[in-house]
């Protein structure tokens, strides 16, 4: 459960660093998109990001390309909200799952908590060999329950 919300001028610093590590160019637009992603407190839609970016003179295509890039590096993940809409969340690279607060929209990383045993059980019972899975959790965060 991590909320990395620094107010540094370059909140997207770790995203930029990851780009660099992966051998991608550190261009102005990419830095800006990284900052916008990091500044988002919770999940965000492509439209949100495109709108923010447009105000800084960054084009739609670049935003989608950057999201792609971050996604391929595991820094951003796509989630599907209960209503069926898409959103993205910034996250750390290790395998984990998201708990999304339906009230405030924030997303929280949660660890395995025994899920792998459950998947093992399912596989064992049904003969299915599990190679990937996706768990999304929706509910109310501690703050919103008050």
């Amino acid at each position: 459960m991590t909320r990395a919300a620094t107010t540094a001028t370059h909140a997207g610093g770790h995203l930029v660093a990851a780009l660099d590590r992966a051998g991608h160019r550190l261009t102005g637009p990419r830095r800006s998109v990284a900052d916008l992603v990091a500044a988002r407190d919770g999940h965000f839609t492509a439209a949100d990001l495109v709108e923010d970016a447009r105000r800084q003179g960054i084009g739609r295509a670049t935003v989608f390309r950057s999201i792609d890039l971050f996604t391929s590096l595991g820094l951003v993940e796509r989630v599907d909200l209960p209503g069926g809409e898409h959103a993205y969340v910034a996250c750390e690279t290790a395998h984990h799952h998201h708990a999304i607060c339906t009230s405030c929209g924030r997303s929280f990383d949660v660890d395995d908590a025994g899920l792998s045993e459950v998947l093992g059980t399912i596989g064992h019972r049904s003969g299915f060999r599990v190679t990937a899975h996706r768990l999304e959790i929706f509910g109310l965060c501690a703050a919103c329950q008050r």
Copy 2:
């Protein structure tokens, strides 16, 4: 589209029955879409169904309306494949999860297998009150492992 006279002429019978039970009209197009859904052996995309339906003279809008209807009755569920594409699967109404074979595309319903305890643990640890969740499992079914 060949309506194989061998097996049940109305593969979508239980879908039609569910529509009836819920007080919806049993129109020709709806019966046809129900049959098409039931005939699909695994997940299918909206495009698949639209194409099948078009050959029978059924319009796009009607296909989407029917999917909506089946979804609202819990007879069809929307899933998101690992690649990010959308698909639909026919399923029973009780709460359950899908295991999707990445080789043959068939989907299998799996039961809880301890997931609710895992969600309880997560909630307990983090103070998050879980109200909904979605678990999708990808891998190889028993047949495709051979």
